[in-house]
């Protein structure tokens, strides 16, 4: 059976740019057609911003890779037109089990909070996400959106000039040149653009290897997440079993540092390991095997004049907590509308500095959380192992010890506290989860969900009051459902919220004049120095 990742989905085609006498000019050029690059391209295409996407190959990624997509990612995907397809295809689970040695120490049920359109997260092979994004890109193209994806186009040298970036691109037919106003590097952990520009990383490298295997099996395993600390089949290490669509199970086995990477990936060796884990009577087939190591680190600055970095190219985290692809898609969500405003001339170029302020803060938060998970899973000293084992042992009998057990903390969107785009909170008694900087919590309305009524542009959310006239903004005034009351009003009788195009809250008031709203809007667009 051929896998989706064995197909050339966007094969190389010669483009007229390659025969142009003068280098063709493109407002935005995205390098990398992974989840982050494609999400950004779709966002820009939906805004009718001419966008060129270059990738050095022509296929979606191999194997399950990112696997867990959190609610915020699904909400963004919904705005990009693919959310419902992802949720339909993905696997949802609530029950997690934690094992220590040969004993189950506890289980937890992640009951989703009510009134959200999307689940807390889904499990889905990364290639399905990429295929869904590619199909959406094709649909936008068919509708005339100015977006172009070129496979087997490798950027060899970006050269920055005062008012543009010059690119030399290598193809199967040789080299050609283009110029671009903005270059967005979404080209992954080994970012070629970052390396070419001589830009480095700061942070920790973890001395550990993990074997990942996607296996298909007929066995009737329940749809649960199982995490083992120090199991009999992998002594002294950890293991994870996760269900994906199509009867594929994802297995992560910690191997330690001093291993023979080649020998460990030998299919017979992997089969033996997986059989020890699943038990002797469970038939399975290997679909994909890989070994990964990881770092927790980020670039000092995500913007270098006209070149911006997003996703793994800008920051890397350990896989625990699923913060890699999820945070990368939030980078794209943050950057898309800002680029569009700057290109349209409705905001100054300095608005892009707020992308750095906000997403560097998010990266720090993700690095902190994933580093803590890693330190729990892989103790670095005898005492840290003693504390880890103490927490696990106590967790079996005592609920109090379970919050110490850390096999990854679920990725939640960063609240941009302190961002230069926020207006001072004029409604501090309203719920803290909706303060300026926060991403809008979803809420059930009389019909449908709140987040489907917001996003893509600036909105005024008027609750129990009329919005001031002549701000030029689109206004949403839903009925006050229990979710709206709990998440947006609290004790406040009425409220006015200014919502950014990425569904983050820019400002909120009990009441505001048009002038106050315009001032907050200008601030959120970086128009106020």
């Amino acid at each position: 059976m051929s896998s989706p990742f064995d197909i050339d989905l966007y094969p190389y085609q010669r483009h007229p740019d390659q025969d142009a006498a003068q280098p063709a000019h493109h407002p935005v050029t995205i390098v990398g057609a992974g989840p982050v690059g494609l999400a950004l391209a779709i966002d820009l295409a939906q805004r009718n911003i001419p966008t060129l996407v270059l990738d050095d190959n022509s296929r979606v990624s191999t194997g399950s890779r990112a696997i867990c997509f959190a609610k915020r990612t699904l909400e963004i995907a919904d705005r990009l037109g693919v959310g419902e397809a992802l949720v339909e295809k993905g696997v949802q689970w609530n029950l997690g089990k934690v094992f220590f040695g040969d004993r189950k120490v506890y289980e937890f049920n992640l009951q989703p909070e009510d009134g959200h359109k999307n689940p807390a997260f889904i499990n889905l092979q990364q290639y399905y996400l990429e295929i869904a994004l590619l199909e959406r890109l094709r649909a936008l193209q068919a509708d005339g959106a100015p977006v172009d994806l070129r496979g087997e186009n490798r950027v060899s040298t970006p050269v920055q000039h005062a008012d543009h970036v010059a690119l030399t691109i290598e193809t199967p037919d040789g080299f050609y040149s283009i110029t671009t106003d903005w270059l967005i590097a979404c080209d992954g952990a080994n970012s070629h653009i970052r390396n070419r520009m001589g830009l480095g990383f700061k942070g920790r490298v973890f001395e550990d290897n993990f074997l990942i295997a996607d296996v298909t099996m007929q066995a009737d395993f329940p749809t649960e997440r199982w995490f083992w600390f120090d199991p009999p089949f992998n002594p002294g290490q950890s293991a994870l079993l996760h269900k994906q669509p199509d009867g594929v199970w994802r297995i992560d086995l910690q191997l330690g540092w001093n291993i023979d990477r080649k020998a460990e990936q030998d299919p017979d060796r992997v089969r033996t390991r997986v059989a020890e884990m699943l038990g002797p009577d469970v038939p399975f087939e290997l679909e994909w095997v890989s070994i990964y190591t990881f770092q927790c680190r980020r670039m000092d600055a995500f913007r270098h004049d006209r070149v911006l970095f997003a996703g793994d190219a800008a920051h890397q985290v350990s896989p625990f907590g699923a913060r890699g692809a999820n945070s990368g898609i939030q980078d794209a969500d943050n950057l898309g509308w800002k680029l569009a405003e700057v290109i349209a001339g409705t905001a100054p170029g300095t608005l892009l500095d707020s992308y750095c302020i906000e997403r560097e803060k998010a990266a720090d938060e993700n690095i902190l959380n994933s580093t803590r998970s890693t330190d729990f899973i892989t103790p670095k000293s005898e005492m840290s192992r003693a504390l880890r084992d103490a927490a696990l042992k106590l967790a079996e009998r005592h609920a109090f010890a379970r919050p110490f057990v850390n096999s990854g903390r679920l990725s939640l969107p960063c609240t941009y506290d302190g961002s230069t785009l926020n207006t001072f909170d004029e409604l501090p008694d309203a719920p803290s989860q909706s303060r300026p900087g926060a991403s809008c919590p979803d809420a059930r309305l009389k019909d449908g969900h709140l987040l489907n009524t917001l996003g893509g542009a600036f909105y005024l959310l008027a609750l129990n009051r009329t919005a001031p006239k002549s701000t030029g903004l689109q206004i949403v005034s839903p009925d006050i459902t229990p979710d709206i009351q709990e998440r947006y009003l609290g004790v406040a009788p009425s409220a006015l919220y200014l919502i950014r195009p990425d569904q983050h809250i820019a400002a909120r008031w009990a009441n505001a004049t048009s002038a106050q709203v315009i001032q907050a809007l200008d601030l959120a667009k970086g128009l106020v120095p």
Partner: protein, 62 residues
């Protein structure tokens, strides 16, 4: 804010000290380390105040 108590606060200090020693009787260093680790987590949860625990950590490391 609750403060770490650094003045005598335990009615039977000798008895509690003896109990600590007795708990480790006959244990290897590794077993004692494990016991101490469990004790720390149990007491930390009982205290239930991150500021007090951080203050205690600071005093312990001084």
């Amino acid at each position: 804010m609750t403060k770490l108590i650094t003045t005598p606060n335990l009615p039977d200090a000798d008895g509690v000290y003896a109990d600590l020693l007795a708990a480790h009787d006959g244990l290897s260093t590794e077993e004692s380390t494990a016991l101490n680790a469990r004790l720390i987590l149990i007491l930390a949860n009982h205290i239930g105040d991150a500021d007090v625990i951080r203050h205690a950590l600071k005093e312990a490391a001084a």
